[in-house]
Amino acid sequence: MGTEAFQSVVPLTVNGRSCRVTVDHRSTLLDVLRERLGLTGAKKGCDHGQCGACTVLVDGRRANSCLLLAVAQEGRDVTTIEGLRAADGEGTHPLQRAFVERDAFQCGYCTPGQICSAVGAIAEAEAGHPSHVTDPQTPAGSAVELAGDEIRERLSGNLCRCGAYPHIVEAVEDVTR
């Protein structure tokens, strides 16, 4: 069997730009972003869904790009840290500014994943998605306020080896308050 059975052309929108990439079916979205599209913001930490360094937004939802097969993302709209913008489309996203202002990193390796994860978490909370620490009595569908433990729980899929957690929580609180 020829190699063509094991590869596909995948149309994608990445950070607002449409592209078509020929991918080996084994490629993850993370590898395509980093190695084919030159977007090295999303990082490879564990490559097994455990650290969150590879977090990107797919159709607006946060996901671990190291476990997404690129071929399965046909037609999806992917946003990486490079594509985040302020609401008016100009300048950096408020979370990016808050991370700088709060000094919410040390080496910075986990930061793109932390920020993409926080963007996704904020949208989930606004849409009324509960977390493990949300009071079960909260009416379904009502927005959940993000502070303290809610932020810690919702960002628990993003590890930081440098232990910048306290400042990460403060940075997210700056944006959600």
Binding site: D24, H25, R26, L67, V71, S117
Partner: protein, 286 residues
């Protein structure tokens, strides 16, 4: 990773035909377990049949009052769904007790039920494992097995099943809907996962090539007070209780054992309750 063919199915029949019951075919849900195992070499399919575009992504109330969850509903959407939060809180809480926000956005109902054990001997090709390769022995039995099963284990395998969701489904008397060459059938969630016995390679009652199309939550357990508590290390035991009936004399207290290793005082009562409930062992993963 070995090269493989990829097919995106748009109907259940198309999915079943593409899979064709071949031992080398696998359905692909969110991929959070399958892709992981492919990277480790534990799985090396020749064909992946992506089921995420199937029209199985709804949570809906049926005429008899039961709630049907499609196989491709993502774990995060299921946990947030008003029907689930209001009628089956234990299910929402069990889902939220597992994995991470990112993973729950990707993981599907079908894939969650069929995720494999996180036993390190299963995941590492350099060690024997009867579940991965029948007849090679159990590396965990005389190895590092602090996280392994106490209840329901066998001489052949002491691995636990990691699904939190499955514990809640068993407690709620849910049914798993299957579709395959033999037609449609349903299996009670409490019987879906097998104890290892002498066939630890078979995790569940599913037959090769069968597709999970959904899960049905019955009206009988809707609205019962229920909750999910996941105790993490050092106790390593997961117990979920549902109280049947209201008011005094609550008979039929039901507990589903989530797992595993019961080592502290106070635990024997849980162990007895768990033994009565007789579910498969499951362990907390994080």
């Amino acid at each position: 990773m070995k090269p493989f063919m990829y097919v995106r199915a748009h109907s259940v029949d198309e999915a079943a035909a593409a899979h064709a019951g071949r031992s080398t075919s696998r359905y692909l849900g969110g991929g959070t377990n399958l892709v992981d195992l492919m990277k480790l070499g534990v799985e090396s399919p020749r064909t992946l049949v992506d089921v995420t575009a199937l029209p199985l992504d709804a949570v809906e109330e049926l005429r008899d009052g039961s709630v049907r969850v499609g196989a491709t509903v993502r774990n995060s959407d299921l946990a947030a769904h008003p029907l689930v939060r209001e009628r089956y809180p234990v299910l929402s809480q069990a889902l939220l007790a597992g994995a991470s926000g990112q993973l729950r956005n990707m993981a599907t109902t079908g894939g969650n039920l069929l995720q494999r054990t996180r036993c390190p001997y299963f995941q590492y090709l350099g060690k024997p494992c009867n579940k991965r390769e029948p007849g090679t022995g159990c590396g965990a039995r005389d190895g590092v097995h602090r996280d392994h099963a106490v209840l329901g284990q066998s001489p052949h395998c002491i691995a636990t099943h990691p699904s939190d969701m499955a514990v809640a489904l068993a407690a709620l008397d849910a049914e798993v809907e299957l579709y395959g060459p033999g037609g449609r059938r349903t299996v009670p969630a409490a019987e879906f996962h097998r104890l290892p016995g002498d066939r630890p390679d078979l995790d569940t009652e599913i037959r090769h090539g069968e597709l999970i199309t959904g899960v049905v939550l019955p009206p009988e357990t809707a609205g019962l007070p229920s909750a999910y508590r996941k105790a993490r290390d050092p106790r390593l035991v997961r117990v979920r209780a549902r109280v049947r009936g209201r008011g005094p004399g609550r008979r039929g207290l039901r507990r589903t054992r989530g797992a595993d290793r019961i080592r502290r005082s106070g635990a024997p009562a849980l162990a007895r309750a768990a033994g009565r409930a007789g579910a498969g062992g499951r362990r907390a993963d994080r």
